[in-house]
Amino acid sequence: MREALERIYDLLFGLKEYAILTFLIIVSLVLLSLNDNSQVKNIRSVATVVFGVGQDQLSFITRYFSLWRENELLRRVNIELADQANQLREAKLENLRLRQMVGLKEQSQYPLVGAKVIGKNLTLMRNTITLDKGKSDGVQEHMPVVSEAGLVGVVVAASDHYAVANIILNVDFRASAKIQRSRVDGILAWDGKTLLLKNIAKTLDVNVGDVVITSEYSSTYPPGIRVGIVSNVREQAGTLFKTVLIVPSVDFVKMEEIFVVTQTPDAERLELEQKAFRMLK
């Protein structure tokens, strides 16, 4: 009997690791099955509260990390929002410009082709712009270029898909223009620094603030297009003419969308004028 007991004891002692493992697994499984027990819940809530005190003491370190992360997140959000605000502002401005252009197109009695300014060559003497429309869009040389603000210039070269225009701030540009109020005529020209209305006799009525528009005398530009406002009138000694300085209506620096007036000069009129000119010569 004693031998048998000893043998059982040896067997159990030899398997004690497994016995402990089995016991602990059973306890774990029992605990798992008691998860919804109210007493177990109470014990857990007490443990959570006690443990929470310890966590609270350490939270000053984690708070630093969370603030650091939050700061980084806010900075990223700030950049994204700034970018969105910029895009919205751009869209709003574009919308405004397009509305003005649509208004011009609806009011205009001439055929217009909308174009985007894709290049600017502003070198003081001979300023030009490049447009994203060309011959395939009906754009040809000598066609006037306008915007909702007024006269921009004239097309001087055109390929199939692009065109280059002299703007009114170009020494090669000439146009017949007049004072809207007093109907005094002159020649619009750029001297490299200032936009001028030339050939205006000293006796004629021109005041600062007068609006300058294109006149009917031009075979290229439709009459009545706003050019600018008289900013200064100088009387020069020893000459018969006044120097009339003009501030252009168009802001050439900000200009982005324009129209090409797809109207070619009246051939009959041109022919007659040239014939008369030759006869006079």
Partner: protein, 165 residues
């Protein structure tokens, strides 16, 4: 007695670190279990029985402050520590702790622990059950293995052993 008190203190400390700081170093949502390297250390130093009991106690401690499944961490850590106990060799303790073998044992034990844990944890969850278990187990195991390299180097210096042995 003193060594049990010390172990209990370490367990509480590890639990505080695990629940307070470790969430801040998550990688793709995976967190290391810093209990595993410590429990493997206990298994390699004190043997299978102590490790199994320690694993159960540590798991139960984790369960008490966890939001659900009381007994789940206790169960998985008991099994994992029991397996770790098989690597106990009284004559090789320092050599094993200070070498890559320690990391390999941690990896194996962590894999067993996470598989057992997530097999129950993901029961009834939406989506692919098996895929969730595999992903969570591998992610957590790899991270825990990487973490265990630090104590390995520590043991290697302390016991003047080469980690590559």
């Amino acid at each position: 007695m003193e060594q049990y008190l010390r172990s209990a203190l370490v367990a509480v400390l590890l639990l505080l670190v695990q629940t307070t700081f470790i969430p801040y170093v998550s990688v793709w949502g995976y967190l290391p279990d810093i209990f595993i390297p410590w429990l493997v250390y206990l298994a390699l130093r004190r043997g299978q029985i102590e490790a199994t009991v320690s694993g159960f106690a540590a798991g139960l401690l984790q369960d008490l402050v966890a939001t659900k499944f009381l007994g789940l961490a206790a169960l998985s850590k008991t099994i994992c520590c029991f397996i770790a106990g098989y690597f106990f060799n009284e004559n090789q303790i320092e050599r094993t702790l200070g070498s890559y073998r320690y990391v390999l044992i941690v990896t194996l034990c962590s894999l067993i622990h996470t598989v057992v844990y997530f097999l129950i944890f993901f029961q009834g969850a939406e989506g692919s059950f098996l895929m969730s278990v595999i992903q969570a187990s591998i992610g957590t195991t790899l991270y825990t293995s990487v973490i265990s390299v630090l104590p390995m180097f520590g043991f290697s210096q302390r016991y003047h052993t080469s980690w590559a042995q």
